[in-house]
Amino acid sequence: MSLTYDEPQLADVLALAEEVWRSFVGDDEPLLPAEPDPGIVAYAATVTIAGAWNGAVTLEFGDGTAEAVSARMLGSGSMTEADVADAVGELVNMVGGNVKSLMPGPSALSLPVVSAGRVAHSNDTTEICRCDLRWAGLPMAVSVHAHRRQDGHQS
């Protein structure tokens, strides 16, 4: 896709996440937009994009979601915590890599960072889009943050 924007659009980010889910998690349980879940964030996975556009793409998983998604990706219910971190890291790597392809380049994609719990974003970032979702009834969310200069423009 060669179309680029000043900032990632929510519809595009959601479409990318849906494509990743269909390909690697399964097409029998779609990602569905949902109300924000008040529960805990059990895992968060994020990649950063640095260069002509600077930002971060993050996936947040509610209690039990990351384990269920990982089991579907691996085709097995027998997993270690490292397997879960590996699987959700790869998911955000794919969504983030495709977001990077939508944005002006050149830029570099980081390796994924996976945390137990919510990821903290720095003060010089702004959440530019977020979609709360449910997969197989389990809560998760995808969001994009952009780094901004002090004058408010994208750095």
Binding site: V20, M73, L74, D86, K100, S101, P106
Partner: protein
């Protein structure tokens, strides 16, 4: 035939192996590398017929691993399987000597089209 799969994600290596099977390429010997440096070492030790490599990996990334192989005269067929499929990345891959770049997420059909002619015989 022997296929070397390099990706720092064990989950993704398993998905690539599963997709190869779904694309009709079951029964080949598989060798796995967790980063570009292991890729180079295993390519030299195992003499694979095809290398499928991620781009972003710790220790050594895929494009540097390809450059290292080509710089030492190793012409093993090499393709990327990566989350970044921009025109720029495809051009860089081709210039470095890669035969194809498969963007994640992928389907068995994409695998079949990209590597079918390489794994014949």
């Amino acid at each position: 035939m022997k296929i070397l799969i390099a990706d720092d994600s064990r989950v993704m290596r398993q998905i690539v192996i599963r997709t190869l099977r779904q694309a009709g390429f079951a029964g080949h010997d598989i060798v796995e590398a967790g980063n570009g440096r292991e890729l180079v070492d295993l390519a030299r030790a195992e003499s694979p017929d095809l290398v499928l490599s991620d781009w972003n990996m710790p220790e050594m990334n895929g494009i540097d691993a390809l450059a290292t192989l080509r710089g030492s005269g190793d012409a093993t067929p090499f393709g990327f399987v990566t989350s970044e499929g921009s025109d720029d990345m495809r051009a860089r891959a081709e210039a470095a000597g890669a035969l194809f770049l498969i963007a994640k997420p992928f389907t068995p059909e994409v695998f079949a089209e990209a590597i079918g002619h390489i794994l014949v015989g």
